[in-house]
């Protein structure tokens, strides 16, 4: 298994290189730059700005220098304990931001990523708890009113987008009832509305996948064997049926985690959460070259790791699969 993981990590190096190169050059060819505004700066100021950010160097030189700054130069993962500082831990320097001259991209990521991760983690927890419960209930009470209710709930959850559900919840629970804040990320109570909104969509998908997966497994011979041996229904569901029934959910979780991380932009904007998703999208509008690259690289790395984790878990769940 270690060889499998090692090989997959090595394979991801060219992938990352392609992503970095593509992003680096694509954003330079997008019309408008970091200093483009309806009110133009004078030519002197434009020259000074370009010199300050080394934009007057030839493009290949900028690319080469940037790649060198990105290359990991040390290995002190223990430095991560005191804060998410990729420069101290691995020598990866994402450089200062164009938009926020008093902050580096490393600092922005260290500041914002934990917020997005927290939002993602709670949303995923909401999604799993409700999705699995509804899905299992629907499967074991197939074609009863319980099944119909769970399934239609899931359908509604899939159909109502977060940018509709979020403002609706705010309108009802924050503005009219005053139970929550309409926006912000200060106290634990502020986590409820955003996580419920983001989680509900994924809960709906998970419920449908779980129902389908468990139903399929329940017809297998080994379930009949377990029943014949007199195992309790609870034991059959939790011990035997779930292990196989969850496979589709696990393969869904890889892209779902990536989606929750990169797709939190909408939720972060509705609820004014200081997460990385909002910075990611705004950095593209701001032509903040270094921040765009830094977040793209980070997300790409996270997605590579998530997919790898999903593959490992799938082999563990399904003995028919092998590491190869």
């Amino acid at each position: 298994m270690l060889r499998f993981i090692g090989r997959r990590l090595l394979e991801s190096i060219p992938v990352m290189l392609i992503i970095i190169t593509g992003t680096f050059f694509m954003q330079r060819f997008v019309p408008g730059g970091p200093f483009t505004a309806e009110k133009a700066v004078t030519p002197e100021v434009q020259r000074n700005l370009e010199a300050y950010y080394h934009l007057n160097d030839p493009l290949w030189k900028q690319y080469r220098d940037y790649l060198w700054d990105l290359t990991p130069k040390r290995f002190h993962p223990q430095a991560l304990a005191s804060g998410l500082d990729l420069k101290a831990a691995f020598g990866i320097d994402f450089r200062p931001s164009f938009k926020y001259p008093n902050r580096t991209v490393n600092e922005i990521i260290a500041d914002k990523l934990p917020v997005s991760l927290e939002l993602g983690a709670w949303s995923l927890a909401v999604a799993l708890v409700f999705g699995l419960t509804l899905g299992i209930l629907a499967a074991i009470r197939r074609n009863t009113w319980i099944d119909y209710m769970c399934s239609s709930l899931a359908m509604v959850g899939i159909c109502v987008p977060t940018f509709v559900l979020g403002p609706l919840l705010v309108l009802a629970l924050a503005i009219h009832l005053g139970w929550f804040n309409a926006s912000g990320w200060y106290s634990p109570i502020d986590r409820v509305l955003p996580c419920a909104t983001l989680g509900s969509v994924y809960a709906a998908y998970i419920a449908r996948l779980t129902r389908g997966g468990v139903l399929e497994v329940l017809n297998q011979d080994y379930i009949r064997t377990a029943r014949a041996k007199g195992a309790s229904e609870t034991r059959i569901i939790l011990k035997h049926a779930l292990r196989g029934g969850l496979l589709p959910v696990v393969s869904f979780l890889g892209p779902a985690v990536a989606g929750i991380l990169t797709g939190s932009f909408v939720i972060e904007t509705i609820f004014q959460i200081p997460g990385l998703g909002r910075e990611f999208v705004n950095s593209a509008f701001n032509r903040d070259y270094t921040l765009v690259l830094g977040t793209v690289i980070l997300y790409a790395g996270l997605i590579v790791i998530c997919n790898l984790a999903v593959d490992v878990v799938q082999v563990w769940l399904n003995p028919k699969l092998k590491f190869e």
Binding site: V30, P31, G32, G33, F35, T36, E38, K39, A40, V41, T42, P43, E44, V45, R47, N48, L49, A51, Y52, Y100, P101, N102, R103, K112, F130, S152, L153, M155, V156, G157, P167, L169, L171, A172, L173, A174, I175, G178, W179, F180, N181, A182, S183, G184, Y186, S187, P188, I189, V192, L193, A196, S200, T269, I270, F271, Q272, P274, R278, E279, R287
Partner: protein, 541 residues
């Protein structure tokens, strides 16, 4: 769909909502007391729509950044709505007879928040910092009327002593201009002229603007800065007029857009918004008339015609297009925000004399059709399908759709609307790859010469790519003129020439509409979004 099914769906979504409510109820039981709900005496909570890039007056470029900087520091003079700049760090000033030398006398009681006295040398050092090429200050242009400032900024002049800033003693600052400038004090009141404490900047480096390091000479101190969340400033006990500061704290709450701002205001989390969503203006005017406020802005919205492209290179076509616009209807039926229809380019507050409004839209429509006929497009026949380019924004789409309909109705011509990302839009306009573009013109200072200079041949803001030597000369003469009467004359001539050639069609002068709680008193903001915080008070009884 059978009716029974419909009912079932309703029941299902009802169940869904019910479950969500239950879920959230469970969470609500553990709700701690939030400080944002209890009315806090003497704390003002303001919506901050744009995250400041930095809080350094030398490099800041947006009004949104100066919202906070002006709470933390103050310049020699401060801008005031509808009046000349008022004394601030400078108690008074003398102007030499030729209008080239301004001698500012600083207040004896001006101190930095770390206790040091504010000296004239601090101002000189701050200005040197703004003009140093290494600082790359975006708004350095606002210093160009000062002797040799431009040469020093471009790096051609190395000796700062040759630039027109001199401190003769601790409290006397002499500014020498290289030409008489009637609006000079307005420039001196602009944001980049706000001083920094040079010793603190030297010592702290790039992070001098963080809480704990920031030293200013203004009414408030930087207490907290959570990027993307909020900025809190608290009363500065050392401020020269500390008695006039009634608020304990001002909180700038970061809110991305008009919708979330609106929700936060209604939930009682902020006291003051930046704007009101267009579609809610009429509702608020009816429901909360004493909370809805409106003020004129120095902001002209216009359509630029690409004069390098056919058929827009024909001034008759441009005039026909402009005449066919019913600006009155645009403002009253589309925008609802009290905007002022514009037939000229200088906003009301800058130009003292306006050409009279031509009478009757009907007659203008006739004129427009006749002009188009003369240009070879009777009833819009053979007129090519042009593109109206606009940046992504709710307001401009409404406006452009109305314009599209007016041109079709009056002139019989078809236009396409192209919505572009903001910077792509500007880049297309600047490089001339567009037909007709929607532009918002906001000058840095209230100076009509600067507004008209945008349309001179060499200006990077000359989006119509129009060139007229006589116009350039008139604007230049207006800028050189030291006599208000003569300047007015040149401005009037220049504007008349511009509107005659019509490389652009002014649409309207914009306004700000905002919501403010009735207990907020003494709110001061000029037409360029410059705020003045002393004198603010809250009556929360």
């Amino acid at each position: 769909m059978p009716p029974g099914r419909d009912k079932l769906n309703l029941r299902r979504s009802g169940a869904h909502l019910g479950l969500m409510v239950l879920l959230l109820l469970a969470g609500a039981c553990s709700r701690p007391e939030s400080d944002r709900f209890a009315p806090v005496p003497n704390v003002l909570r303001i919506s901050q729509r744009n995250e400041p890039s930095d809080l350094d007056p030398a490099t800041a470029a947006l009004p949104d950044e100066f919202f906070i900087i002006r709470a933390l520091s103050e310049g020699l003079v401060v801008p005031v709505r509808g009046a000349d700049p008022q004394p601030a760090a400078a108690a008074s000033w003398d102007i030499s007879a030729d209008g080239l030398r301004y001698t500012f006398h600083l207040r004896p009681d001006g101190v930095w928040s770390n206790g040091e006295a504010v000296t004239a040398q601090d101002f000189v050092d701050s200005f040197r910092r703004v003009l140093s090429p290494a600082t790359a200050a975006r708004k350095a242009e606002l210093f160009f009327s000062v002797k040799n400032a431009r040469a020093f900024l471009s790096g051609n002049l190395k000796d700062f002593n040759a630039v027109g800033f001199h401190a003769t003693d601790a409290r006397t600052l002499i500014v020498t201009l290289d030409r008489p400038s009637l609006g000079f004090l307005r420039y001196a009141a602009s944001g980049p002229w706000i001083p920094v404490n040079p010793r603190v900047v030297q010592r702290e480096g790039r992070t001098w603007t963080s809480p704990g390091s920031y030293v200013g000479n203004g009414p408030y101190l930087l207490q907290e800065w959570l990027p993307g969340q909020r900025i809190i400033v608290r009363k500065n006990p050392l401020y020269r007029q500390a008695a006039a500061i009634h608020l304990q704290e001002i909180r700038f709450i970061r809110l991305d857009d008009g919708e979330s701002e609106d929700r936060s205001y209604r939930a009682g989390e902020i006291d003051l918004t930046m704007g009101v969503p267009e579609d809610k203006l009429r509702v608020y005017a009816k429901d909360r008339p004493n909370e809805l406020h409106r003020a004129a802005l120095l902001e002209t919205r216009y359509l630029a015609f690409n004069t390098q492209r056919e058929p827009l290179n024909d001034s008759r076509v441009r005039q026909a297009l402009s005449l066919a616009l019913d600006r009155q209807r645009l403002v009253h039926d589309v925008l609802h925000g009290g905007q002022i229809p514009a037939r000229w380019i200088l906003p009301g507050a800058t130009s003292n004399e306006h050409p009279a409004l031509p009478s009757g839209y009907d007659r203008e429509q006739e004129q427009a059709r006749a002009l188009l006929r003369a240009a070879g497009f009777p009833n819009g026949q053979n007129f090519p399908r042009l593109e109206l380019s606009e940046p992504v924004s709710w307001q401009s789409t409404l406006v452009l759709e109305a314009i599209q309909a007016m041109w079709k109705q009056t002139l019989g011509i078809e236009m396409a609307i192209a919505v572009r990302e903001a910077r792509v839009h500007v880049a297309a306009l600047r490089s001339g790859r567009y037909d007709i573009g929607f532009i918002t013109l906001i000058p840095d200072v209230d100076d009509p010469v600067a507004v008209l200079r945008d349309f001179t041949t060499a200006s990077p803001n000359n989006y119509p790519h129009w060139s007229d030597r006589n116009y350039d000369a008139l604007v230049e003469q207006a800028g050189q003129s030291g006599d208000p009467g003569a300047q007015r004359h040149f401005l009037r001539e220049a504007q008349a020439r511009l509107l005659d050639a019509q490389p652009l069609a002014p649409l309207y002068f914009n306004t700000q509409n905002w919501l403010m709680r009735p207990y907020v008193h003494g709110w001061q903001q000029d037409a360029l979004w410059n705020r003045y915080y002393p004198g603010l008070w809250l009556d929360k009884r």
